[in-house]
């Protein structure tokens, strides 16, 4: 099991008030699944994604990510876990504008202490795979939205994490470009990568094989795994080799 969440609660303190964003969520996601988390704003799906991505900790409850109990870790350990196990893709791409495309893609490897030459090499490969091998010395500001998101995908893949978390990845793109990005996701999925996609767009959700609907901090509906044929157990994306 890649993700194992047990009775997870997350309470924010706003002055004297306590606001519960998650009110007891339990879910499991296996290696190689393509899952969409859906729900209106305020449903707790963003909070869930932040905890799954090790950016936040649950107030109570347990979270096992690839066998590691994430909720008890120190900042350094949690950062390391995030670095090795999670690749983030954001709605607004979140590329650092001062860095070139290839430097942006290299960034997770910098924090994984990968030597410089190997870093450049691996960044180059994932950029080639998303079809941006020719633009690696450009700045993000010189790229279109679709290209930026492909850079972000390359960045999320470069450290070969077992989990890719995408937060509204098509939200800032026109529908044609959005479909292009979703095709890349589909390809990744076929390569064995575990994808968790957060969206409120039902059209996007259709691309995934499992939809988890959130409402008011609880899982309202889970279509469950639709996996017909068992996949070979894959750790890491296994995608670079294929691409």
């Amino acid at each position: 099991m890649l993700i194992d969440v047990q009775d997870m609660r997350r309470v924010y303190r706003m002055g004297d008030n306590e606001v519960a964003a998650l009110k007891g969520v339990s879910l499991q996601i296996d290696y190689g699944e393509f899952v969409t988390i859906m729900g209106p704003s305020g449903s707790g799906k963003s909070t869930l994604m932040h905890i799954l991505g090790c950016l936040d900790r649950p107030t109570t409850g347990r979270y096992l990510l690839d066998g590691t109990a994430a909720e008890t870790l120190l900042d350094v350990e949690m950062s390391r876990l995030r670095n090795r196990k999670v690749g983030f893709i954001f709605q607004s791409f979140n590329l650092i504008p001062q860095l070139t495309v290839v430097e942006n893609v290299e960034l997770p490897l910098v924090y994984a202490a990968v030597p410089r030459e190997e870093r450049r090499d691996r960044a180059q490969k994932v950029l080639d795979a998303v079809g941006l091998g020719h633009r690696h010395e450009h700045r993000p500001t010189e790229l279109s939205g679709g290209e930026c998101q492909r850079v972000a995908i390359a960045r999320s893949l470069v450290n070969a994490p077992p989990l890719i978390l995408a937060d509204e990845p098509t939200g800032n793109l026109d529908s044609a470009t959005g479909i292009e990005i979703l095709r890349i996701f589909e390809k990744l999925h076929q390569g064995g990568t575990t994808l968790v996609l957060v969206t409120h767009d039902p059209e996007v959700a259709k691309w995934s094989e499992r939809v988890i609907s959130m409402r008011d901090g609880v899982v309202e509906r889970d279509t469950g795994s639709r996996k017909s044929a068992p996949r070979p157990a894959v750790t890491g994306t296994g995608w670079r080799e294929e691409a």
């Binding site: 991505g53 954001f90 979140n94 997770p108």
Partner: protein, 411 residues
């Protein structure tokens, strides 16, 4: 993220904002430049003083003629001849610590040979012990002898520059030249002594390479001052051991007081005391300069901190992104601290260069001795690094403590 990685990305980031980086550095640059140039002036003055005191001899006592005050002149009871030749003889007899005593008589007279009349020559009457007292030896020939002094012989010993200007590279010993109206035989030439005209030192020395020495007895006999026939300008006393300088000075004062009937028409100079005094002055100078420099570095540091705080806010989004990609709080802290230290240390290096340039300019234009000591460079370097750490820590902590989720949403 290792150190090399951090350094190179820090440098890149600072180069990206050249103007801002430079402006941020200015406080440190000028602070350090001030430290370096001030310390170079202080160090130059210190070395010059030391040099001059060394030339006087640290285990020597000098007695100088002082002008009588009006009160002393009016008081008929207190007739003193002023500092005289007999004083020197008395000191030699009565001060057991003294290993050598020489009177010093300055004479206004031209030294010439035919048409060669070098300028700025000092004719000095001394006895046979003067060379030992001042540790200045004849490089060829001999110094004035006991016999010369006893017989008031008309012999002279030339300073190296005088020798060069009158005889060139030719042999001078045995030749005769004129001092005033009298013929003198050259018996020796002094060795060259390093001499720098002091601008900042407490004691002024003449260029001894332009001295011509004759026996004191000859000076008094041939160039007699009719009002004060025995008067000399100075007496140099060499003390056997530097440890005895203070008790010797007490004795010297007592002997002279008795001989001069209590009239203070002389002053006793102890190079060791002058040295201590100049060191006290030096220390005050250092404290004042140190405070000014510390103040300017403080201002520089605050400037850096101010900019870094603004930078941290401006780069909130970047911090969020880096955190999401796996940067720990420590990585972020390191990144910003590293940038601040880089700014401060680069500012320090530029400041050191600028300060050294200023020291050079002061040396060239004001003719002051300036010495940029390695210690001042090291201290400045260390201080600028410390400024970077001290004033970078708070902004870096602010950066590290940002909640990554909030930071990611920051626009």
């Amino acid at each position: 993220m290792d150190v090399r990685e951090m350094l190179s990305s820090g440098v890149k980031n600072l180069v990206r904002h050249k103007l801002r980086t430079l402006l941020t550095m200015f406080g440190v640059i000028f602070g350090v430049a001030a430290v370096i140039s001030m310390m170079s002036i202080g160090e130059g003055a210190r070395r010059e003083t030391l040099e001059q005191i060394r030339l006087l001899g640290t285990n020597n006592i000098r007695i100088k003629k002082a002008e009588k005050t009006v009160e002393q002149q009016e008081n008929e009871e207190t007739v003193s001849e002023g500092l005289c030749w007999q004083d020197a003889r008395d000191l030699a007899d009565k001060v057991p610590y003294a290993s050598a005593v020489s009177p010093i008589k300055f004479i206004e007279a031209e030294v010439y040979l035919g048409a060669k009349r070098p300028e700025g020559i000092k004719v000095v009457g001394v006895n046979d012990m003067y060379d030992e007292i001042t540790n200045a030896r004849a490089s060829s020939g001999r110094f004035i002898s006991y016999l010369d002094e006893k017989t008031a012989a008309r012999v002279c010993v030339l300073g190296s520059e005088v020798h060069r200007e009158i005889f060139g590279i030719g042999e001078a010993i045995g030749k005769s030249l004129k001092i005033g109206e009298e013929n003198f035989e050259v018996v020796g030439v002094m060795g060259q002594k390093n001499f720098k005209e002091g601008k900042t030192a407490a004691i002024k020395l003449r260029n001894i390479n332009r001295d011509v020495y004759i026996p004191a007895a000859t000076a008094l006999k041939r160039f007699t001052d009719d009002d004060y026939p025995d008067q000399v300008e100075e007496i140099a006393v060499q003390v056997r051991n530097a440890a005895f300088v203070v008790p010797a000075a007490v004795l010297v004062r007592r002997v002279l007081e008795r001989r001069h009937y209590g009239v203070k028409d002389y002053e006793v100079l102890i190079p060791d005391e002058l040295l201590a005094q100049s060191q006290r002055t030096q220390r005050i100078f250092n404290i004042v300069m140190g405070s000014i420099a510390a103040l300017s570095l403080l201002v520089g540091g605050i400037g850096i901190m101010n900019i870094m705080l603004a930078t941290v806010t401006e780069r909130t989004k970047e911090i969020g992104i880096r955190r999401a990609l796996g940067a720990s709080q420590r990585d972020i802290l390191g990144q910003f601290l590293n940038e601040t230290v880089l700014i401060a240390v680069s500012g320090g290096i530029i400041g050191i260069l600028l300060g050294a340039g200023m020291a050079l300019a002061i040396n060239l234009f004001a003719k002051w001795d300036t010495v940029v000591s390695p210690i001042s460079v090291l201290v400045s370097f260390g201080i600028s690094g410390t400024v970077g750490v001290v004033f970078g820590l708070y902004p870096a902590q602010q950066a590290a403590r940002k909640d990554p989720i909030v930071a990611l949403r920051f626009e």
